[in-house]
Symmetry: C2
């Protein structure tokens, strides 16, 4: 786009020099990228290893980090050690308690008419079938709305199965609309008297790896066992149903829920030269679902933002404090983000942003600064354009963890990763390190480095951090 | 290649008309494709639904079909019904008995230094750990040869882990060389005193789906538990090992083996006008591994060859009998092929061939007819070329099931599918219907239809099969 405009301008200028002045007058004033920001950005793009080291280390040495379990505790210990070793200041955990849900043995089996096993995983906060499982006839619905409008008699005593047709999209927009079977299905099924529910995984792949994810029983619904079939298994069940005979399933989803689980946010800082200047808040979430190792969701997010902060620190001391938060317990419902705003909501923020959509290339950004500080917004756009990142004037704030802080008044910045592949692996056993492309990961770090450098208020290169090791 | 040659010829001819006659004289005589064969082939390419109906039906209505289990028995019943309904003659089962190996609960877990679960599946004829599992230190080897040359002391009492570096290849050639950890590793590990073995899956994907497959304990080796980690899990284990600390694994691979299992070959025919003419033998295998639904391995193979035979039958009555065999128990060691040759090895065959490499596009073929009947070979080449299939003069006989019959003297034909994707799914839970591309499946049917039509000895279109329904 920019190249086309430039070419058009050059042609116009060459062919009709007399008209050139007039054309220029209608163009917006030029925004030149800050060469110091550009240098930091390009250095991160070429050489960053901090992010890979974090995502490789966390996924290898801890693995899955289910919220409020001992695994998430080990992850906090790991985070404390790593952030301290990287030389950040004020590294600490801010603990909180919450209910903890854990998965036990699970299986799904067609009993009739064509006996066979299907691949299933319980959704978060699913009810438990107990070890013996439940057996029931399948009641099929092509959408959550079809379930909503069905008479109770079509559902009562049965195992509901909801289909959908989510397709890959660069902006990940299918997740909102097509995620309804997971978010609303269990409650509606329970209220209509179903004994259990399975959904087609909210995913865009064709592998035998179910997509878990959170759901809540609302409106007084009794928790029932709720699981996701992998996409190939959901399609298999549909083929079986199309034969027109009653289909009986045995479903075993053992799980436990209890109160008093321990989670926490891990916080670290690059102290600013002006402690009173509004803070740059960035981060991602430390917890993951239990099926994979949480590489794209969200070891990469904490890695990217932390690496960017470290690049600023390497360059010197920013005017503003950069605060990195590795939020706890995002997956079961944003507990870390809520705990954070309770403790820190009244502080003053220059910007709040997070990375929680994998590690593929960032393709566009948006920010509230477009309205509140157009000059800063233009500077951001200029510093991100060389990475192939466009500005999206219609964008919204994004991210479960920073949402409460943004609602409390912090201005926001959103950097959007390409989500075409994201829902192939999201919340599945397949969320593992091999899904991360180191080159695209570095582009992410470069982008966040550019954002932090642009908004830092200036980096004083003589004044290095005192606490570095 | 052909196009380049043609272009070169045209240029030469235009530039030097005097020399053209001489050039033409050195070219081989033209082989014109038989228009009746071409019509049958192109009809199958455009319209075949028999193959899809079989592969969809078998994988949906039966699912996995582990050799000598009741599931394979249900598959034989299904095959009898379907082949009869399709109008084939002499549809029957030829049963045989064999040892049967079945899988129980299985898991792999790193106990130290970084506790986490890995995804594992037992290999065929693995020893059983019993429900309590075994615990041992990992002894890592980058190849089966590294294991072979290691001192026993490096292995004794440990759980061996063998890595490899198989990559995708169109001709599937990596499977031979890189399959050694599976085929030889368990025996070598056992002879050196290992308590168990896990290998990197013999596969080319990055999904959390292990690749099972057969192995035998030879040379007096005691069976030990032997499993395959999924590729991402094998890479994870390597990263953990690279930290340099002892790695302890708990491995549970429960399995059972007993004698007296029932399997069988399902046989059907298109009777030829000349019952004494050598037979056209084609087929695939009915059994599958137990993890997926055996769509590419090998429901598609029986589907493709059966569909081709049906297209011949639709056209009329061939001079030669076409015999279709859906072989039983190929996966655990070619039991069906061996049972077949015992019963039918002394019969006279015009050709023996099978389809057992998925359902992606056939890209080349080879045949013993190149030497024994060059005119027929040239006709095959002419009838397959329009499908984009080249002749491979250096090709070999291919296929576990027809191998014993070929060794007993039957001439062979091999049609090679593109194997680039095949080892992404081979022997995994991911071998499901969605991996089959209906367009490429039809190309396979068209190719086999062309082969059968070319070698049929002529199809008499007035003389339709009496037994059709």
């Amino acid at each position: 786009m920019d190249r086309t405009l430039l070419t058009a301008f050059l042609i116009t200028a060459a062919a009709a020099p007399a008209a050139a002045q007039q054309t220029v007058a209608t163009l917006p004033p030029p925004v030149i990228e800050d060469p110091r920001v550009a240098a930091l950005r390009d250095d991160a793009l070429a050489k960053d290893h901090y992010a890979w080291d974090i995502v490789e280390g966390l996924t290898t040495e801890v693995g899955q980090r289910l919220a409020a379990t001992e695994a998430e505790g080990r992850a906090r210990d790991w985070a404390m050690k790593r952030l301290t070793a990287m030389g950040f200041a004020n590294v600490h955990v801010e603990p909180f308690t919450m209910p903890v849900w854990t998965r036990g043995p699970e299986s799904a089996e067609i009993i009739a008419p064509f006996p066979q096993k299907l691949t299933v995983a319980a959704l978060g906060y699913s009810g438990s079938t107990g070890p013996g499982g439940i057996t029931g006839q399948i009641a099929y619905f092509p959408s959550v709305d079809a379930l909503r409008t069905a008479p109770d008699a079509a559902v009562r005593g049965k195992i509901v199965f909801i289909d959908h047709n989510m397709q890959p999209a660069q902006d990940g927009s299918g997740y909102g609309q097509f995620g309804a079977p997971r978010r609303q299905g269990p409650t509606i099924a329970s209220l209509k008297g179903a004994i259990g529910i399975v959904i087609r995984s909210i995913g865009t792949d064709h592998h035998r790896n179910p997509h878990t994810g959170v759901q809540y029983f609302t409106d007084g619904a009794t928790p029932i066992p709720a699981g996701a079939l992998s996409v190939p298994d959901a399609e298999q069940l549909i083929r079986i149903l199309k034969r027109g005979r009653p289909v009986t399933m045995r479903l075993t989803l053992v799980s436990e829920k209890h109160d008093g689980g321990q989670s926490g946010n891990v916080i670290a800082e690059v102290p600013g030269r002006d402690p009173k200047a509004p803070i740059l808040l960035v981060g991602g979430h430390l917890d993951s679902w239990d099926l994979g190792t949480g590489a794209i969701d969200d070891a990469s997010g904490v890695a990217i933002t932390t690496a960017a902060a470290r690049h600023i620190m390497d360059a010197g001391r920013p005017m503003r404090t950069i605060r990195i938060v590795w939020f706890g317990a995002e997956e079961p419902g944003g507990f870390g983000g809520n705990a954070y705003v309770k403790a820190h909501g009244s502080e003053s923020y220059a910007i709040a942003g997070e990375s929680d959509f994998g590690a593929d290339r960032i393709w566009r950004f948006s920010s509230q600064l477009m309205k509140s500080d157009p000059a800063a917004y233009a500077q951001l756009a200029a510093s991100l354009a060389p990475l192939g990142i466009t500005k999206n004037d219609k964008g919204d704030a994004d991210g479960t963890d920073v949402e409460p802080t943004i609602k409390a008044g912090a201005p926001w910045v959103s950097l959007n990763q390409d989500g075409t592949r994201y829902f192939d692996w999201h919340h599945t056993p397949d969320d593992t390190l091999d899904k991360i492309d180191p080159v695209q990961l570095r582009q992410n770090v470069a982008a966040w480095t550019a954002v932090l450098a642009t908004l830092s208020g200036g980096i004083e290169s003589g004044a290095k951090q005192p606490k570095r090791r």
